[in-house]
Amino acid sequence: MSRRTLVALIIAGQLLFMAGLIARQEYKWRAWRTIQLRVVPLDPVALFRGRYVHLTYDFSVLSARGEDWKRGETVYVRLKPQGDGTWKAAEVSRTLDQQPEEVLLRGMVVHAYGGRVFLRTGIESYFMSERKAPEIERLSPQKYDMRVDVAVSNDGRAALKQLYIDGIPAEDFQPRPRE
C-alpha cells in the first residue's frame, strides 16, 4: 500500500467515525422509546464543548437502604409513570428485570457514602449557548415546570433529546419578568 493510500484511508476513517457518532445518536433518538422526566438544572462548563446545563433527576441521589454499593457498579433505576405524563424513580436494583408498565434506566454508582448512593445515567448534560445556559440555571424549579425528553432502549440505555421549560424548548424560552 502506498503512503498516499494509507493517508487517504486514515482520513476517511476519521471522517467515517465522526459520521458514525452522529448516526448512532440519531438512531437512538428515533428508534428508542421516549419518556419525560422532571429535572433541576445547574450551569457548568465542559472542556472542548462549551457551556451546558447539568441536569439533576430524582434518581441522581438515592437512599442506600443498608445495601453495600460499590463505585463503578452498574445499577438499574425502576421508573413508574405519573399522572402528569412524567416518569418517576421508584427504586434501584442490580438486575435488569423489567416489569410491565415500567421503564428501566441503566446507571453507574459514582459515590456511595452517608447512607446515600450518587448515580450517573449519562443524560446529565444538556448543551446550550453561553448566554442561555446561565439564564436557565437561574430558574427556580418551584416556579417553572422543567422536563426533558429522553429516549430509552429496552436494556436501559438512555439518550437525552430535548429540555423543556413550561412546555417550551429551553433554547426558545424567555423567563418571565420578576414579579
Binding site: 476519521q14 467515525f17 462549551g50 463503578g72
Partner: protein, 355 residues
C-alpha cells in the same frame, strides 16, 4: 541516544514553527467558535462546518505533501490542524447531540485517530498531539482524589520511554525525542509531587478502583511486551546510553509501585522520602548525562529544570529539620562540584591528546 546525532544542532525551521502555531490557533478558534453554541447557526450548518474544517485541512495538506514539489512544513501544519479539527469534531458532535456518558472516551478516540496519521505523514506535531490526548485521558479518567492518576502517569511514562528507545534504535528515529520527552515528564513530575512528605503519606491504604486495577495490569502487560521488543532491537542496534536507560528505567518506577501495593503509614516514613528525593536527584543527573551523550539539548534542559525545582522544593520544605537538610545539600553540592572538576579535567586531557 541516537548515534547518528550531529555535533551541530540543526537550525530552527521558523516557517514550520509559525505554521504549527498558526494551526494550533486556528484549531482552537474553530473549537471556541462552535463551543459558543451560537444559536444563529442551525445544526446542519454546524455539522457542515465541522466536517468542512477537517476535510478542507486534510485535502490541502494532502496536496501539499504529495505534490511534485512538496511543501512539507506547511503540509505538516495543515495535517496538525486537521487532526485538531478531528478531535474538536468529536467533542462538538457530542455537544450538538448532548452526549454525556463518559465524555473522556472522546480523548481516546482522538488519540486512536491521530496516532496512525502521525506515522503516515511523518509528523512530530501530530504525534505530540496524540500523546497529549492520551495523557489528558489518563488524567481526566483517574483524577479521583488525585491519587490514582499520580501512580498511573509514571507507569505510562515508563512505556513511552521504552517506546522512545525502540524508535531511536530502529523504527522512526525522528519520533524518539517526542516519546522520550513526554515519558520523562510523566515520570519526573509525579515523582517530584511524591517527594513532599505529607503528599506521599496521603497515599497509603487507599482503596483502588476496579478501573485503576485493570489499567495497571494492562500497562504492566504492555511494559513486558515493549521490554521484549526493546531487548530485541538493542541486540542489533542502539548505543550504550540506551541500554543503560532501559536498565535503570524500572528503578524510576519503584516508588509508585511501592505505594500502589498499599503499604502501612509507617512504611512511608523518612527513609522512603529520602530515597524518593535521592532517586529523583539521580534521575535528573542521568537525564543531563544522557542528553549530553546524545547531544540533545532538550533532554539536558529537562533534567536541569527538574533538578532546580527539586532543590527549591526541598529548600522550602518544612517537613525536614534544617540541620539534616543542610548536610544533604552540602554533601550533594560538593559531589557535583567534584564531578564537574573531574569531567572538565578529563575533557581537557582528551583535547590536548587530540591536538
Amino acid at each position: 541516544m541516537n548515534s547518528s546525532s550531529t555535533e551541530h544542532l540543526p537550525p530552527v525551521n521558523v516557517p514550520l514553527l509559525l505554521g504549527v502555531l498558526g494551526a494550533v490557533l486556528l484549531g482552537e478558534g474553530v473549537m471556541l467558535f462552535i463551543s459558543s453554541n451560537w444559536r444563529a447557526i442551525p445544526m446542519g450548518a454546524k455539522l457542515v462546518l465541522i466536517f468542512g474544517n477537517v476535510l478542507g485541512s486534510y485535502l490541502l495538506a494532502y496536496r501539499m505533501k504529495f505534490a511534485a514539489r512538496p511543501r512539507s512544513g506547511f503540509a505538516s501544519a495543515l495535517f496538525l490542524k486537521g487532526a485538531i479539527g478531528y478531535g474538536a469534531g468529536i467533542f462538538l458532535i457530542a455537544q450538538i447531540y448532548n452526549f454525556h456518558a463518559d465524555w473522556r472516551a472522546g480523548l481516546i478516540y482522538w488519540f486512536v485517530g491521530a496516532l496512525p496519521l502521525a506515522y503516515a505523514v511523518d509528523s512530530r506535531p501530530v504525534l505530540a498531539l496524540s500523546l497529549g490526548t492520551l495523557v489528558l485521558w489518563t488524567i481526566s479518567k483517574f483524577d479521583y482524589f488525585g491519587r490514582e492518576v499520580f501512580l498511573l502517569l509514571p507507569w505510562l511514562g515508563g512505556l513511552l520511554v521504552l517506546a522512545a528507545v525502540v524508535h531511536w534504535a530502529r523504527l522512526f528515529p525522528r519520533f524518539g525525542g517526542t516519546y522520550f520527552m513526554t515519558g520523562a515528564c510523566l515520570i519526573l513530575i509525579p515523582t517530584l509531587f511524591l517527594s513532599w512528605g505529607n503528599v506521599a503519606r496521603g497515599w497509603v491504604g487507599f482503596e483502588w478502583s476496579a478501573e485503576f486495577q485493570s489499567l495497571a495490569v494492562a500497562l504492566a502487560g504492555v511494559y513486558v511486551i515493549l521490554l521484549v521488543a526493546t531487548a530485541l532491537v538493542l541486540r542489533t542496534g542502539g548505543d550504550r546510553a540506551l541500554r543503560l536507560l532501559v536498565l535503570f528505567l524500572p528503578i524510576a518506577l519503584l516508588p509508585t509501585i511501592f505505594l500502589a501495593s498499599k503499604p502501612s503509614r509507617e512504611a512511608v516514613g523518612d527513609g522512603f522520602l529520602l530515597l524518593v528525593n535521592l532517586l529523583l536527584f539521580a534521575e535528573c543527573l542521568g537525564l543531563i548525562f544522557l542528553g549530553a551523550a546524545g547531544r540533545t539539548r532538550a533532554v539536558v534542559k529537562l533534567g536541569g529544570t527538574v533538578l532546580v525545582l527539586l532543590t527549591v522544593c526541598r529548600f522550602f520544605d518544612g517537613y525536614w529539620y534544617y540541620l539534616p537538610r543542610s548536610v544533604v545539600f552540602l554533601l550533594l553540592g560538593l559531589s557535583l562540584m567534584v564531578a564537574a572538576f573531574l569531567w572538565e579535567r578529563g575533557r581537557r586531557k582528551t583535547a590536548e591528546a587530540e591536538s
